[in-house]
Amino acid sequence: MGNFTPEMARALGGAGWLTERRLAAAERFASTTLPTPAEEAWRYSRIDQLDLDRYRPGPAGGDGTFLGATVERAATVRVLNGAVVGIDLDATYAAKGLVVADIAGLAEAPAALGAGVDGSPDAFTVLNDAFLPGGTLISVPDGMVVEHPIIVEHWVCGAGAASFPRTVVAMGEDSEAHVLERFMSPADAHLVVPVTELVVGDAARLRFLGVQDHGPDIWQVALVRATVGRDATLRASAVALGGDYARLRSEALLTGAGASSEMVAVYFANENQMLDFRTLQDHDAPHTTSELLFKGAVEDEADSVYSGLIRLRPPAQRANATQTNRNLVLSEGASAKSIPNLEIECDDVRCSHASAVGPIDLDQLYYLATRGVPPDVAERLIVFGFFEDAIDRLAFGAGAERLRAAVARKFDARRCCHPDAVTSGNRGQEKLPSSGQGGQEKLPSA
């Protein structure tokens, strides 16, 4: 297909195993066709507007803009267009056996690479396999508790380029870690196809938060897929703010008895954005638990799609699964689609879902008005209150404050007259504030 041929994949070079892997995927991709909105998984999406020929696999050129550290970290990885350009790993953790590495630099393929994707491939994951420049491997040894967060900072840039970031987190038995993956980008018309695989071993605990704060012209087709082992706990959350069309497929496969997953997301779309979420809570073992809470707001002409599935397979007796999607529609012209699906193949389970779409509650506005709160301030309070429980659940470290500020910026973008409003700015160009510490550091390209 156009620029994404096996020849282009071969040209990327690198370690032998990686080149072979890419080539095999590129050949698979050559015989694949891109999905269409006629396919259920792509219904309501803007996939028909994607012209792959407008992009080429981007060389990892240019400079990345990365946020500085605000909290103590176990490790920081800087990734530019999918290629790892810097790793700071705390020496104490390194000594204990925590591995944070560039996949491209490994002598052989890490076991966890492909562990998630191979169970649920699509044209874009194949494309990622074919063109990944490398990627981040985080491997936490058995029994290790990583108290400080591990942060993967992505910068994607280059108009007309496409990038294929890959992150693999392998949690050993009874280990614990917090991982934050953050995507930022300038106002380039760029295609980014990130794949993140989370392998949570037996009794391990992983908190993962993916934040996308892309520039306004980015096209994103992302996958985060986790497999959760016996008695393990996964909390995989997402924040979506930027992009022109930004899709996130978020999946958790509960493979071991007693496994549990929690997925929380906050999203806010305005102008002509479309934020598109597809979730899967896939229970394949008894006594498994999953919870999902997705909360979003749409404004201007923006669209959001939430399509989620809870699948309780026959072994999932005594499972408990919930799924909640709530959408605030803040202006005429904005729209939200919500499709919470259930497929239940066992009887001794509890499963429920709820979804709602609506404007700001007039009763709440009225109540605040009777207490002397002007409507614009009241609206702001209500929107923040709407997001608060989700923010509270997904954030860790200094994240909650940053996130509130990011939502505030987005909310205030159109409402410059408000006294609390920060100067109005364009979506995507306002970045997450760095809470006054650290500042931004520029890194040269690798």
Binding site: V329, G333, S335, P340, L342, I344, D348, V349, V357, P359
Partner: protein, 466 residues
């Protein structure tokens, strides 16, 4: 379409004076057959042309991938293969399977109705019984007849509405129905008229009630109300393996229409039905839909809310036993401001049965102050059974409040324990809990149906229904 071999043997029962027609059943679906059918029925030319147009649409429309996937075994050739020329309708009580007769016995259905239900022509008995009712209707100016009669007698009333809510090109099965429909009901209620008693399909005179391709049209004029009951809860035995009805309802401003149906086709039937209502300003349409029988049912009654303040409701109960798949749901299309809708679905699956709720709530741009609430509850009674929920919500309007809730669970152990500690057997306790579960829908039915439905669910739970 691979092969279209339609057995038209059934239609020999469709005319009022059978001995006049020595109609040899001919296989195949083509223009000649449709022309002949139309001529035999003495239809006006516009209906004949309507059928022919539908036939060409049916032939042109591809079988949807989605249908094909959900019905791997439905192959037109096979479906018709199973129809024997004589088995369309049972002509003798003794020809009924024992299991069906036993169920009638348990339900306590009177002999006359039993015969009717069995497809034995029992029109004359019911005609006598309900004669008084019909006189009252005539006084009110209510028209109630089978569709074939209506096309002949009141073409001016039928023509503007026939196919106006469900055009023949709506889907492949609607096209098939439009081409070869026969039987079904026609109701017209004049303005400001309230029909007190529910109108029931089997009160009709001279009707083919349980046609394979029924066609029902209900027009309720301004400010009027009617409750129509189609089918009933007792098992309907039929030799046909494909049932594909079309039901259209037009509720004029301020009208209220309730359409209740409980299908209990025998387990060889594919039941693919298109049901749609148009609710104009301040009108209310509610579908009460029970699905107990058939091998596969795909039925999504819908209401197009086209006038301000219109209201739509779908209340449905589905029960899927061994080998059954009840794929039912509802669609609410909010196409006017201040419209409201409610969907309540209760499903029960047992012995490997599968229930699916598939629904859509759509709010078009500009339809402000709309409200919709969807609630789906599913009970799974054993580990072989399965339940799916696919609720679609497409909201293109800011000022719309849309909510959806669903739960899936088994019968609560605490509830079972409580009832069993009061001396009920586990089976009785389960049946009681299940009846409580479907109560919100059952209570909207006329009493005799409600009792029958409750009893029937209990029988199904015992595995006593054939």
């Amino acid at each position: 379409m691979a092969t279209t071999e339609l057995d038209l043997g059934r239609y020999k029962l469709g005319w009022s004076d059978p001995e006049e027609y020595v109609f040899k059943p001919r296989k195949g679906l083509n223009e000649d057959i449709v022309n002949e059918m139309s001529w035999m029925k003495g239809e006006p030319d516009w209906m004949r042309r309507f059928r022919l147009r539908a036939l060409s649409l049916f032939e042109r429309k591809p079988m949807l991938e989605w249908f094909a996937k959900n019905m791997p075994t439905i192959d037109f050739e096979n479906v018709y293969y199973y129809i024997k020329p004589t088995s369309g309708q049972v002509n003798d009580w003794d020809m009924l399977p024992e299991s069906v007769k036993a169920t009638y016995e348990k339900l306590g259905i009177p002999e006359a109705e039993r015969k009717f239900l069995a497809g034995v022509t029992a029109q004359y008995e019911s005609e006598v019984v309900y004669h008084k009712n019909r006189d009252e209707l005539a006084e009110q100016g209510v028209l109630f007849a089978d569709m074939d009669t209506a096309v002949r007698e009141w073409p001016d009333l039928v023509k503007p509405y026939f196919g106006s809510v469900i055009p023949p090109n709506d889907n492949k099965f609607a096209a098939l129905n439009s081409a070869v429909w026969s039987g079904g009901s026609f109701i017209y209620v004049p303005p400001n008229t309230h029909v007190e008693m529910p109108l029931q399909a089997y009160f009709r005179i001279n009707a083919e009630n349980m046609g394979q391709f029924e066609r029902t049209l209900i027009i309720v004029d301004e400010g009027s109300s009617v409750h129509y009951v189609e089918g009933c809860s007792a098992p309907i035995y039929t030799g046909d393996s494909l049932h594909s009805a079309v039901v259209e309802i037009i509720a004029k401003p301020g009208a209220t229409v309730r359409y209740s149906t409980i299908q209990n086709w025998s387990p060889n039937v594919y039941n693919l039905v298109t049901k749609r209502a148009k609710a104009e300003a301040e009108a209310t349409v509610s579908w009460v839909d029970g699905n107990l029988g058939s091998k596969l049912t795909m039925k999504y009654p819908s209401v197009y809310l086209t006038g301000p303040k219109a209201h739509g409701e779908v209340l449905s109960v589905a029960y899927a036993g061994a080998g059954q798949h009840q794929d039912a749901g509802a669609k609410m299309i909010h196409a006017a401001p201040e419209t409201t809708s409610l969907i309540e679905s209760k499903s029960i699956s047992k012995d490997g049965g599968r229930t699916t709720y598939r629904g859509l709530v759509r709010v078009d741009p500009g339809c402000s102050k709309t409200k919709s609430h969807v609630r789906c509850d599913a009970l799974i009674l054993d580990e072989d059974s399965r339940s799916d929920t696919y609720p679609y919500m497409e909201i293109e309007e800011q000022d719309a409040r849309i909510g959806h809730e669903a739960t899936v669970s088994k019968v609560g152990e605490d509830q079972l324990f409580y009832l069993m500690s009061r001396g009920l057997t586990e089976q009785q306790a389960t049946a009681m809990i299940v009846n409580g579960f479907i109560e919100p829908v059952v209570k909207t039915l006329p009493m005799e149906y409600a009792i029958e439905l409750s009893r029937l669910i209990e029988l199904s739970m015992e595995g006593a229904v054939g």
